[in-house]
């Protein structure tokens, strides 16, 4: 319930704030900036979905778009996720480039038939006659008692299906570049955001740029253990790496950015050196993104010698709203650091970082460098 400000002047780029002579932008603003740039560039791009045009503007991530591009290109829909997904697919088949927004990833369960049975397969089963350049923007919710149906990270279901691409940027820089890449991609892309990342800041260039599919990033180098984070868990993993550093363990942190296609080569290359891998998913482990990464690493280099792998993710339960339960449900910098320490120092006594230092990492700004 914030007091509404007068609508911002329609602009393509946000001012952000300047640090070291470079622009620092929030994740949430990087998202709308990416869409604004692409909508200005290509008349065929449009953005729709429940509530994209209201004053809250999908937690701010569609802010300014209605003013800039008008209600014909930025519009809400009835509560009809299934058909609206079909509508997006049909418009894409006709040559447009829809961006369909869902304020919570949980609602994608209503869209599975269209996404899995049509969008993913259309190009193939129609013999290459059409393409489906569709972006499905979707936000993982977290914290503060939202509960079981407003918290899910269901990206692995989409990774499972050939024909879909999946992206889960962990910072503002990637959010902008990957969203531009997704909009320009000729395939359906499930674009997974995380609510708690919205306020995080990074250096973000004003001009359009792409963070292309299939390229992971090594965010931090280290030789003792490899930590792969997914979505906001990259931020948690970086915090864990800080804690580990204090304990004398050098962690390498990798952000896949795009989950499908998945650049496992970068991960495998790292694990070949460290022989130790912790994967921290922002979702359930069973058949999750972490399972895929673990399997690929095991296939690629397990024959070469001992290798240690540990997956972390949501507890295998629905997400409970009660604070003490919710705290135990998610991996956090302390549990990540402790798991990584155990692999890196198998013979040392178990170590758990100082609780105060291990708080949720979202205040920690990740600005690059890229």
């Amino acid at each position: 319930m914030s007091t509404p400000k007068p609508p911002p002047t329609p602009k393509l780029a946000w001012p952000g704030r300047v640090e070291d002579g470079r622009r620092v932008l929030k994740y949430v603003d990087a998202l709308s900036e990416a869409v604004a740039l692409e909508m200005a560039r290509d008349e065929n791009v449009f953005l729709f979905g429940l509530d994209v045009d209201d004053h809250k503007a999908i937690q701010g991530s569609t802010r300014g778009l209605l003013d800039r591009f008008g209600p014909a290109r930025v519009f809400t829909t009835p509560l009809s996720e299934d058909a609206m997904t079909g509508v997006a697919i049909g418009a894409a088949m006709a040559g447009m480039r829809p961006i369909h927004v869902h304020i919570r990833m949980d609602f994608l369960m209503l869209c599975m038939n269209q996404l899995v049975n049509i969008a993913a397969k259309a190009r193939y089963m129609y013999g290459g006659q059409i393409k489906v350049p569709l972006v499905v923007r979707t936000i993982i919710g977290k914290s503060w008692g939202q509960g079981a149906q407003h918290s899910q990270g269901l990206h692995s279901m989409f990774m499972h299906v050939p024909g879909l691409k999946v992206c889960a940027p962990s910072n503002a820089h990637d959010a902008k570049g990957a969203l531009i890449a997704a909009i320009r991609d000729d395939n359906p892309v499930v674009f997974v955001e995380h609510r708690l990342l919205y306020a995080t800041e990074a250096f973000v260039a004003e001009a359009p740029y792409v963070v292309a599919p299939g390229r992971a990033r090594v965010c931090r180098f280290g030789r003792d253990v490899t930590i792969v984070g997914v979505s906001n868990m990259v931020v948690e993993a970086l915090r864990a790496a800080d804690l580990l550093k204090e304990a004398g363990v050098a962690a390498e942190v990798i952000d896949p950015i795009w989950l499908a296609p998945l650049d496992s080569d970068t991960i495998v290359e790292s694990v070949r050196r460290t022989r130790k891998l912790v994967i921290v998913d922002n979702g359930w482990s069973m058949c999750g993104a972490g399972a895929e990464i673990a399997a690929r690493v095991a296939e690629a280099c397990a024959g070469e010698g001992p290798l240690q792998i540990q997956r972390l993710g949501f507890a295998p339960t629905p997400c409970p709203p009660s604070p003490p339960l919710e705290a135990a449900f998610y991996p956090n910098p302390a549990t990540i650091a402790a798991a990584a320490y155990k692999l890196a120092r198998p013979d040392a006594p178990a170590w758990m970082p100082d609780a105060a230092k291990a708080e949720l990492a979202y205040q920690l700004q990740f600005k690059g460098p890229f």
Partner: protein, 326 residues
């Protein structure tokens, strides 16, 4: 309201009905006002969707129900839950995320449930409870319990495909369901005009062979009377009915405050609807003395429920893993 065919004798007494309706309406209103008051303290650990202004619908429908009947509400479900007799203390503890909550701190405000009072669990995904309520009604028919299910849904929920699917199935199998659409004209901040091709909802529902009636100002007593009568037929296998109740959400979509400054709906409409305030209307049917007594009882109950919620423990961390499977 004729006394015929009601088993609970208290319902035969007209002034009894007035007292009951006032008590229920006032209690729900006051509970939600207290929730709004407490909210900034951050003791409540769950997003709340208040039904302040809309209570007359739940109270009117539920007063016509019997104990064996069930209700299915939405995430804006405090009114439904309380009107059907869900435990206030357990609800309050649930909002606090406590182990004594109706869902043991694993649901939150959007997942209220009280199976003893036959309040089915509510859901945060719009529309999902509609077919579940229909399935519950199917079981009542099969099990010959004679019970009916009142299924509450918002205007937004009618746009979900499962609503149409549920109507067809309920009508086809003549299931004992009272569909209650609480049409407050908005889904979050989006007006009907951006979501509905026409507003001929009742006409559409009627094409399934489901008697459908719109209540333009959702008068509690009128709704109660209509449902009470319809249940006579329904309990004999008459199949579902539908009511569309126009109403107004006084507060913001989620949270304790108002949202008129956001500009998407006018405060003049609030004023218009406040003139139809179901609590004030019900109060008029009750003497000042009776009101005072009821109000005092309500305040005491609410204070006790809050005290209970505050004093209750959080679930222990091991509870994380329980009840994933039965």
């Amino acid at each position: 309201m004729p006394a015929k065919a009601k088993s609970t004798p208290k319902k035969a007494v007209k002034s009894g009905a007035s007292l009951r309706l006032y008590r229920s309406l006032r209690r729900i209103r006051r509970v939600e006002e207290e929730i709004a008051r407490l909210y900034p303290s951050d003791k409540i650990k769950s997003p709340v969707h208040l039904s302040i202004g809309q209570e007359g619908i739940a109270v009117g429908v539920c007063d016509a129900l019997e104990a064996r009947d069930a209700v299915s509400g939405t995430y804006r479900g405090h009114a439904t839950y309380l009107a059907k007799g869900g435990s206030l203390a357990a609800m309050m503890a649930e909002l606090y995320g406590k182990d004594t909550g109706c869902a043991r701190g694993k649901g939150g405000s959007m997942h209220l449930i009280d199976m003893e009072a036959k309040v089915l669990g509510t859901s945060a995904v719009v529309g999902t409870t509609v077919p579940v309520a229909v399935g519950y009604a199917l079981a009542q028919k099969r099990l010959k319990t004679g019970a009916v299910v009142a299924c509450f849904l918002g205007d937004g929920a009618t746009e979900e495909g499962c609503f149409a699917e549920s109507l067809n199935f309920a009508a086809l199998h003549k299931l004992p369901v009272v569909f209650v659409c609480e049409n407050n004209g908005f889904a979050i901040h989006e007006p009907l005009s951006k979501r509905w091709a026409t507003d001929r909802l009742c006409a559409r529902v009627a094409t399934y062979g489901i008697p459908a009636k719109r209540f333009a100002d959702s008068d509690t007593a009128a709704i109660r009377k209509h449902v009470e009568r319809a249940l006579l037929k329904m309990r004999k296998g008459g199949g579902p009915i539908f009511i569309e109740c126009l109403t107004w959400r006084w507060r913001e979509h989620v949270g304790p405050g108002e949202d008129y400054d956001a500009g998407f709906r006018s405060k003049a409409m609030l004023a218009k609807w406040q003139k139809k305030d179901p609590v004030a209307k019900a109060a008029k049917a009750v003497s000042a003395k009776q009101r005072a007594a009821i109000d005092a009882e309500i305040e005491a109950e609410i204070a006790a429920a809050i005290a209970f919620a505050e004093a209750s423990p959080f679930p222990s961390p091991e509870e994380l893993g329980t009840d994933v499977y039965a």
